[in-house]
C-alpha cells in the first residue's frame, strides 16, 4: 500500500477542543425557552393487573401542565423484530419499572410531586422471574396475546420464547462418537448496564405546522424517527430527530427511551418538554445486557481436535422482545467460537420474563457466549494435559476456511493475535508464583453492515463539509471517516467539518451500532470523492482547457500534469457557485452481503459476520488466598483491526472496552430480588474506577479487510468480549478454582478456595 498522509495517523479528534472546554453541547444540556420538565411514573410491581389509574388530581397541582396515561395515547404496539411494546401499561404491568403515566410541569419538583398524586391501583400477580420458570410446562405467559403480535416472519416464536435461532452443521451425534472425551459445562452471566455517564435525555417541541423536532442522545436517529412516527401516529415526515451530542451509548441508546414521552407531553402541552432519566431509572428500566445461561457440550479427540459441539444459550430478554431475537441469533455464531468444528447444533433463545426489557450492550451476546466457550477450552486443555494456547492454535479458523454457517473467512489474523498476546504476556511461564497465573481467551466478531450515505459540500475557501446521518457517540469514528475523506481529497483533516445526525437534512445512516460507523461512513466518503471527481474534472476541463482524461485530484486541487496547469478545489467551488449552485457530491455505501449456507440456519436474523475481526486477550493476575481478591498485573490485547485508521483512538477503544469487560468479569451485576432491582445506584452497582483498571497493552494486528476503507475492520465492540473469559482462565490458572458464573467476585473465589480439596 502506498503511504498515507492523513488516514492511519494518530491525529487529534475533531471534537476534542469543545469537549475539554465545556462548549460541546450534549442532549442532556439542551434547553429551549419555556421548556417544561417531564417525569415518568413507573410500576413498583413486576407483574400486576392495572385496576385503575387516575391522574386528575395530579394535573390540578401548581405548575403541572399535563399528565398522560394509556388512555391518552394511541393503542399501538411497537418494537423491533416483535411489536410487543406499549408506551404505558394499559391493563397489565409486566415489569417493575414499566411506565404507567407521564407528567410535564414547570419544574422537576412540581413534576415529581405530580407523580405522587397519581392514583394507581395495581393487583399483584405471580411474576415469572427466571428463564427456567418461563420455560416450565404450563408457565404463565408474559404475553398472552403473543401470537397476535406483528413480528419478523423468520422468527421461531412459541409462548414465552420470542425467538429460537439455530445453526445445524453436520451431525453432532456422529461427532460425539468420534470424540475421545466429551465435556459438558453450564455457565451463567447476570445483567450489566452500559454505564454511559450521560443519562438518556430528549427535548421535544412541536411547530405550528405539526412537525415535532426531538433533540436526543440516541445512537440511531433514523430508527427513533420511525418509532416516534408509529407511536405518535403521524407521517414520518412530521418527525425530525436531531442528535446534539452523546455522552456514551454502548448500545444502550439504540431504542426509544425517553423521546416518546417528551414528544407526547410536548404535543399535549404545546410547550417544549425535556425528559431525562435518573440513575435509578437507568438501572431498573433501561436496555441493560441480557442475563444468560449457557450449556455447552463439546467433543474432542485425545490429541485436542474438536469434533462436535452442542450449545444452547438462553437470554432473559425481559418483558419485551427488544433486541433479544437478534442477539439470540448472534449468540449462535459466538457459541461456535473462532474454531473449526465440523458438527454443530447451536441454539440461542430469547425468553420473556417479568423484568425490564434487556437490550444491546457492546458486542451483544459476545461476552456471555465467549465466557462459556473460552472457559470450556481451558477446561478441555487441563483435562487433556494440553497447553491452552496450543489447543486453540490447533482448532482456530484459518484463511479461506468456513465459518459456522458456511461463510468463507478472509483476512483471518487470529493466529498472529494469539501468538502475539501470548508472547507479550510471557506465556511460557504460566504460573510464575503461588497464587499467580495467566489466562488467554480469543474470539471473533462482526463489522455490522447496513447502509450509509454522505453529502460533501466544497466551500469557496476549499474547506469541506461532511454531512452524515451517523452520530458521533465518542469513539472518534467520524474523525476516522473524515481522515479517509481528507486522504482521498488530498486535504488536511482540519479542512473538514462534520454536520451529523439530523433526520431532516442529513443522508440516511444505519446508525452508530455494531462497530460500523468508521467502516461504513468511511466507505461512503470514498464513494462521494469519486462523485466529486466526476464533477470537478468536468468543471476543470473547461476552465483549464484540457481534456478530462488528463486530470487528477491531488493535494486539494485538480491538476493537469502534462499541461502544467491546476485549479484548486476552492477555485472550482467558487466557479461552481457562480455557474452551477456550488459543489455538492453524494456517496453511498452498503456492505455487500456475506454469502452463507441458508440450509444451516433457522430463525436467524444475523447468519454471517461481515468483515469479521479476530482478537486475543491475555492477562497476568494474582489471587489473594484469604480474601479471593484479584490483582491484575498486566493485560494484553492483540486485535486484528484490518487497518488502523487512527491508532490512538483504536487503543482508546481497546482500553475502554477492556475496562468495561473487566467490570463485567469482576464486579458488575444488576441484582434482582423478587423482580425488583436492589442496587439501583452507582455506589452499589460497581463500575471500575481509575484505581481498578490496570494499564492495558494494545497490539494492533492488521490483516486488511477486502471491503473496509483502506482495509479497516470494525473495532469498537470486540475489546468488550474476551475479558471475562481471560480473567476466569487466569483465576483458574492461579488457584485451580474454576468460576462459572459472572461476576467473578472475591467472595465467590474465597468460598471456592475454602471448598477446594487440599
Amino acid at each position: 500500500m502506498t503511504a498515507t498522509r492523513v488516514v492511519g495517523r494518530s491525529l487529534p479528534r475533531m471534537d476534542a477542543p469543545g469537549k475539554v472546554t465545556g462548549s460541546a453541547v450534549y442532549a442532556a444540556d439542551f434547553a429551549l425557552p419555556g421548556m417544561l420538565y417531564g417525569k415518568v411514573l413507573r410500576s413498583r410491581e413486576p407483574h400486576a393487573r392495572l385496576v385503575r389509574i387516575d391522574a386528575s388530581r395530579a394535573v390540578r397541582l401548581p405548575g403541572v401542565r399535563a399528565a398522560l396515561t394509556a388512555a391518552d395515547v394511541a393503542d399501538v404496539r411497537y418494537g423491533g423484530s416483535v411489536k410487543d411494546e406499549e408506551v404505558f401499561a394499559r391493563d397489565r404491568v409486566r415489569f417493575a419499572g414499566q411506565p404507567l403515566a407521564a407528567v410535564a410541569a414547570t419544574s422537576l419538583e412540581a413534576a415529581t410531586a405530580a407523580l405522587a398524586a397519581i392514583d394507581v391501583v395495581l393487583e399483584p400477580l405471580p411474576p415469572v422471574l427466571e428463564v427456567a420458570a418461563a420455560l416450565a410446562p404450563g408457565a404463565p405467559l408474559v404475553h398472552e396475546g403473543w401470537a397476535g403480535y406483528a413480528a419478523l416472519p423468520i422468527l421461531h416464536r412459541d409462548g414465552n420464547v420470542c425467538n429460537r435461532a439455530r445453526i445445524v452443521v453436520g451431525d453432532v451425534e456422529r461427532g460425539f462418537e468420534e470424540a475421545d472425551r466429551i465435556f459438558e459445562q453450564r455457565f451463567t452471566t447476570p445483567s450489566v448496564h452500559q454505564g454511559y455517564t450521560e443519562p438518556r435525555a430528549a427535548v421535544a417541541q412541536w411547530d405550528s405546522a405539526g412537525q415535532v423536532t426531538v433533540w436526543s442522545n440516541t445512537q440511531l436517529p433514523f430508527e427513533i424517527q420511525n418509532t416516534l412516527a408509529e407511536i405518535l401516529q403521524v407521517p414520518l415526515s412530521r418527525v425530525r430527530v436531531v442528535v446534539p451530542g452523546i455522552g456514551g451509548g454502548f448500545g444502550g441508546k439504540l431504542r426509544v427511551g425517553v423521546e416518546h414521552f417528551a414528544a407526547l407531553l410536548a404535543r399535549k402541552t404545546g410547550r417544549a418538554v425535556k425528559v431525562m432519566t435518573t440513575s435509578e431509572e437507568e438501572l431498573t428500566a433501561a436496555y441493560a445486557r441480557q442475563p444468560a445461561i449457557v450449556e455447552l457440550k463439546t467433543g474432542v479427540t485425545s490429541d485436542g481436535r474438536l469434533t462436535a459441539r452442542e450449545g444452547r444459550l438462553w437470554f432473559d430478554t425481559g418483558a419485551f422482545a427488544g433486541s433479544g431475537p437478534g442477539v439470540a441469533s448472534v449468540a449462535t455464531l459466538m457459541l461456535a467460537g473462532p474454531y473449526r468444528i465440523p458438527n454443530l447444533l447451536l441454539e440461542g433463545y430469547a425468553v420473556y420474563t417479568h423484568k425490564t426489557n434487556f437490550g444491546s450492550f457492546r458486542a451483544p451476546s459476545g461476552p456471555q457466549a465467549n465466557f462459556a466457550v473460552e472457559s470450556q477450552m481451558d477446561i478441555i486443555a487441563d483435562a487433556l494435559g494440553l497447553d491452552p494456547l496450543a489447543l486453540r492454535l490447533k482448532n482456530i479458523v484459518r484463511e479461506g476456511e468456513e465459518g459456522p454457517t458456511g461463510q468463507v473467512l478472509t483476512a483471518v489474523g487470529l493466529d498472529e493475535c494469539l501468538r502475539k498476546a501470548a508472547d507479550a504476556i510471557g506465556w511460557k511461564e504460566r504460573r510464575p508464583a503461588p497464587g499467580r497465573g495467566k489466562g488467554i481467551a480469543c474470539g471473533w466478531w462482526t463489522t455490522t453492515g447496513g447502509s450509509s450515505g454522505v453529502y460533501l459540500k466544497i466551500n469557496p475557501d476549499g474547506s469541506v463539509a461532511l454531512n452524515t446521518g451517523a452520530a458521533e457517540i465518542g469513539t472518534a469514528a467520524l474523525t476516522g471517516a473524515a481522515q479517509v475523506l481528507a486522504e482521498d481529497l488530498g486535504v488536511d483533516l482540519t479542512d473538514v467539518n462534520v454536520v451529523s445526525a439530523d433526520t431532516l437534512s442529513t443522508p440516511f445512516d444505519f446508525g452508530a451500532q455494531g462497530s460500523r460507523t468508521a467502516f461504513a461512513v468511511g466507505n461512503a466518503c470514498r464513494a462521494a470523492v469519486a462523485d466529486l471527481k466526476r464533477q470537478v474534472f468536468a468543471l476543470a476541463a473547461g476552465h483549464l482547457g484540457v481534456d478530462e482524461s488528463a486530470l487528477e485530484l491531488r493535494g486539494g486541487a485538480v491538476v493537469a500534469p502534462a499541461a502544467g496547469r491546476r485549479a484548486t478545489l476552492a477555485e472550482l467551488a467558487r466557479l461552481s457557485q457562480a455557474s452551477g449552485g456550488g459543489l455538492i457530491a453524494h456517496g453511498t455505501f452498503v456492505a455487500p452481503p456475506t454469502a452463507y449456507d441458508a440450509k444451516r440456519v433457522e430463525g436467524h436474523v444475523y447468519p454471517a459476520f461481515h468483515s469479521p475481526s479476530f482478537h486475543a486477550h491475555a492477562v497476568d493476575l494474582s489471587v489473594d488466598a484469604e480474601t479471593g481478591e484479584v490483582t491484575i498485573h498486566r493485560y494484553v490485547v492483540a486485535q486484528d483491526v484490518g487497518f488502523a485508521m487512527n491508532p490512538t483512538y483504536i487503543q482508546g477503544q481497546i482500553e475502554g472496552g477492556v475496562a468495561q469487560g473487566l467490570g463485567q468479569a469482576l464486579s458488575e451485576e444488576i441484582v434482582y430480588d423478587g423482580g425488583r432491582v436492589v442496587n439501583a445506584n452507582l455506589t452499589d452497582y460497581k463500575m471500575p474506577t481509575a484505581v481498578d483498571v490496570p494499564r492495558i497493552e494494545s497490539i494492533l494486528v492488521q490483516h486488511p479487510s477486502l471491503v473496509g476503507p483502506f482495509g479497516a475492520k470494525g473495532v469498537g465492540e470486540p475489546p468488550n468480549i474476551e475479558p471475562p473469559a481471560a480473567v476466569a482462565n487466569a483465576v483458574a490458572s492461579a488457584t485451580g478454582v474454576r468460576i462459572t458464573s459472572l461476576p467473578i467476585t472475591a467472595e465467590k473465589i474465597a468460598l471456592a478456595l475454602r471448598e477446594r480439596p487440599r
Binding site: 477542543p17 455517564t197 450521560e198 475502554g656 475496562a659
Partner: protein, 160 residues
Amino acid sequence: MARIPLSLRVNGEAHDLAVEPHRTLLDVLRAELGITGTKENCLEAECGVCTVLLDGMAVNACIVLALQCREREVTTIEGLAAGGALHPVQQAFIDLGAVQCGYCIPGMILAARAYLDGNPTPSEAEIREALAGNLCRCTGYQKIVDAVLSAAGAEVPARR
C-alpha cells in the same frame, strides 16, 4: 419556597441571584446561569461528572447547596482556559487522546487540576487515587492518567 439573595462568583464574574435554599450549585450553574460545561448525571456524588472547583478545591456540585457558595469562588470548565489559551491539563487531554464521548471530561480535568495544584509531581498511583471519584466509561482511564502525568511534566510510560 422563599428565594434568598445570593451573589455567586463563577469564573471571576459575579452573578446576583435569588435562589431557593434547597437549590444545588449544579442546578444553579446549569439551569439559572446556562453554564452547561458542568455535567449532570447521578445527583448523588457517585459519578463525578459535575465536579467544579470551590475556592480551588474539587467538589461535586450536585451535593453542594448554592447558598453554601456565598463569598466563595466557583471555577467551572469554562473558566479554566485563561485568555483563550487552554490550560496545560486541557491541552494534554487533547494531545494524548484522553477524550472520547467527553461527558466525564470537564469533571475529570477539574479534579486533575485541583489535585496537581496540591501535588505538582504525583506518581501514577496517586493520580489514579485522585481521580477515583470520577467515573469514565469510555477510556479505561489510561489515556486520562497519561494526560495528567504529561501535564505534570512527568514521563508518560511507553505504550505498546
